[in-house]
């Protein structure tokens, strides 16, 4: 079974991520559906507690504002690890829109990006399947302190220096 890092633990994950051009009947089980499908088919999710939405790097997290309380998972796709838009989306979802559910990084998700992703509010990481997820887990503790305020620490270092 595929693995996921969630809240600092490696767990089994059976979530199916539907392609951006998905059409038809929803499979059962845990799902991540693309934003456009979600917007067009909101009614069909009313009774499903295991369906989340994924947004791509060119889509806007603002599109989900009205649905945040109902969504157990929001995933942000990194088409390439060098595309940094997802970091800002995560911060907006957490800091501005106060999203409390699971925020998952999917796509080109690699060990060396996890620490910053975690700081920006991600708490789940679908590490690329060809990489060692146990190694990746160690990246979450790379730094013991950081200068800026972010989702992991509401105060910047200058308010914490003794």
């Amino acid at each position: 079974m595929q693995k996921l890092i969630k809240d600092g633990q490696i767990i089994d994950d059976s979530t199916v991520v539907l392609d951006s051009d998905f059409e038809g009947t929803l499979p059962s089980g845990a799902l991540l559906v693309p934003l456009s499908f979600f917007k067009d088919n909101k009614a069909s999710f009313e009774n499903r507690s295991n369906v989340g939405v994924w947004i791509d790097s060119h889509e806007e997290p603002e599109e989900l504002i009205e649905d945040l309380e109902k969504l157990p998972v929001i995933a942000i796709n990194f088409p390439k690890f060098g595309d940094g838009r997802g970091y800002s989306y995560a911060r907006l979802l957490r800091d501005r829109f106060n999203y409390k559910g699971e925020l998952r990084a999917i796509g080109d998700v690699l060990q060396d990006q996890l620490f910053y992703m975690q700081r920006c509010g991600f708490n789940a990481f679908a590490v690329r399947a060809d990489r060692d997820i146990n190694c990746a887990l160690t990246a979450l503790t790379t730094f013991s302190s950081s200068y800026q305020a972010a989702c992991d620490n509401p105060d910047p270092l200058f308010r914490r220096r003794s």
């Binding site: 595309d83 911060r91 060396d112 190694c135 800026q148 308010r159």
Partner: protein
């Protein structure tokens, strides 16, 4: 200068450990070339035409003598015994081995230096005036603000993968842009409002490269405490909306131009309003804590001059020339700021040997409170010299080859490493600089010419700032041959402007001749004391063009 505390030390050492692990994973094949590329760039490591190049940050240009000695030591141990000073407060090693870089970083960390974000698509080293803190005109010392920005931008989790590189510069002088802020992604002009409070005028979207643009003012007065939140808003808007489909259109200047500065400013304002009074708003305590690291050293009370000094000036013309050219007025009576000019024929611009570095450190310890500044014109400055020590410094600088009295003269060129070193370059820069230095070696002629800026870049990335030189030289590739395009009338100092291209490009061996013709037109047309830029603005391109392209009789 800023001193690390336990927090800073720990963060920097953890970074070294992280990069050591990444380098090991690269060599064991666990990290691909492409994945390692971004990680090594963010640690200052390029792979160049002939060898790796490793770029160390010199935050706002300040180095202690101990740091200078460490650079010398590293250049001996891991390189060929010299370093290269860049135009943006960086020091480069040109021949290190990739495997040695973690050890170099660790050594640097022990001397409170790093190579963090000196490359890559992230927020780079913040630059300012090399004479910050000793210039009497400045509104306030810009260095504490640069340090505050350094800490905020260091390992910023949201902005490590921007569309493109991002550079911030701070200027504190009201009448002169001493940090070229209008050609930076963000330019901050320190100002005082009517109530005497410190704040910033904020410019965005300036830059050189293949689309040179002058930055636009988007905020008339940003109170100092709002500095970090406002920067965060600017960069967030850029991170979300900057183009990622074409690296040549990815800088913030393209986005600002596409949206218009007014719309960009609105977007920033809207973003900023959400968190401007949040925890990242600076506190008086923090600003004062950082300012305390930059208190003036223990200056002596001195007379403005002495009979002995005046007698030396009167009797020794060479010394008087050097004092006139290579020293800058200091805000404290009896002191002077000295520029050690590193540029002379036969030495690639900005290159300094290990022994020279150590000699600079010795001079700093003996005469200038153990502190050295790296200037954007690729020279080195000792900024707290007693006037009574100038003669001794001059004599030592001459022995070391640092006393060519050509500061801001034609031969004090800005020049990138060019095709001799850089994989990006279309053409070599260093031989062109040498050709010009050899042609114009008559100091009387240079002094008569007056201050003039000649800048050379080996490609349109414009590391040699050719767009903002009075005379700009750009290396171009013409069917596989190296040619040079010449532009006139650029300036980053007063009412910034981008130089205009004079016409078709020239072969390498023609460059000095062309420069000579341009200078002839200038000297024939200038009024008493008129600077090149003003003559050019007055008479226009036509007379220059006519002379340069005139058919030989």
């Amino acid at each position: 200068m800023y001193k690390y505390d336990d927090h800073d030390r720990k963060i920097v050492l953890e970074r070294v450990k992280q990069f050591r692990g990444q380098t090991e994973r690269y060599f064991s094949g666990d990290l691909s070339e492409e994945e390692f590329l971004i990680l090594r760039l963010q640690n200052g490591l390029y792979v160049q035409r002939l060898a790796p190049m490793f770029r160390v940050a010199v935050p706002y240009g300040m180095l202690s003598s101990a740091q200078v000695r460490n650079l010398a030591e590293l250049s001996r141990k891991y390189d060929k015994g010299y370093v290269h000073f860049t135009t943006r407060h960086n020091v480069q090693f040109n021949w290190p081995e990739v495997k040695d870089v973690p050890d170099m970083l660790e050594s640097l960390a022990h001397f409170e230096m790093h190579a963090t974000q000196t490359s890559g698509n992230c927020i780079r080293n913040t630059s300012t005036d090399q004479f910050a803190g000793v210039v009497s005109e400045e509104v306030t010392d810009p260095r504490p603000y640069c340090e505050i920005i350094r800490q905020w931008s260091t390992f910023h989790p949201e902005f490590a993968y921007l569309p493109r590189k991002f550079k911030i510069a701070v200027n504190a002088c009201p009448n002169e842009d001493r940090a070229a802020i209008r050609v930076h992604d963000i330019g901050l002009q320190i100002v005082k409002n009517e109530s005497g409070e410190i704040g910033f005028q904020v410019y965005v979207g300036g830059g050189l490269g293949r689309t040179p643009l002058i930055g636009s003012l988007i905020k008339e007065f940003l109170p100092e405490k709002d500095l970090l939140t406002y920067l965060e808003a600017i960069v967030r808007v850029y991170n979300r909306y900057g183009r990622r489909d074409n690296k040549f259109k990815a800088r913030i200047k393209i986005l600002v131009k596409a949206l218009t500065p007014e719309v960009y400013a609105e977007k920033v304002e809207e973003e900023w309003n959400h968190f401007k009074d949040g925890s990242s708003k600076l506190t008086t305590d923090e600003i004062n804590r950082i300012k305390d690291f930059f208190v003036p050293p223990a200056y002596e009370e001195l007379d403005s001059s002495s009979a002995e000094f005046e007698a030396l000036l009167a009797s020794n013309e060479a010394f008087a020339n050097w004092v006139k050219r290579n020293t800058t007025q200091h805000k404290v009576t009896g002191y002077s700021a000295v520029t050690l000019t590193l540029k002379k024929a036969g030495v690639p611009t900005g290159n300094v040997s290990d022994a020279q570095l150590e000699a600079i450190a010795d001079l700093a310890d003996e005469y200038s409170f153990g502190e050295v500044r790296v200037a954007h014109d690729q020279n080195v400055a000792l900024v707290d010299i007693k006037k009574s020590d100038l003669f001794a410094i001059w004599q030592k600088a001459m022995e070391l080859g640092f006393a060519t009295p050509n500061l801001n003269m034609l031969t004090d060129m800005i020049c990138c490493p060019g095709g001799d070193y850089c994989a990006l370059a279309n053409a070599k820069s260093i031989p062109v600089a040498e050709q010009i230095q050899n042609r114009f070696d008559d100091l009387d002629y240079l002094y008569d010419l007056g201050e003039i800026e000649l800048n050379i870049s080996g490609c349109m990335n414009a590391c040699g700032h050719h767009h903002v030189g009075d005379i700009g030289v750009l290396g171009v590739d013409k069917k596989g041959a190296e040619f040079y395009q010449i532009s006139l009338g650029g300036s980053s100092v007063k009412s910034a402007s981008i130089g205009k291209i004079i016409g078709p490009s020239f072969a390498q061996d023609q460059v000095a001749d062309v420069v000579q013709k341009i200078l002839n037109v200038y000297t024939e047309n200038r009024t008493e004391g008129e600077l090149f830029i003003n003559t050019f603005r007055r008479i226009g391109m036509a007379p220059f063009k006519e002379r340069v392209y005139a058919k030989a009789n």
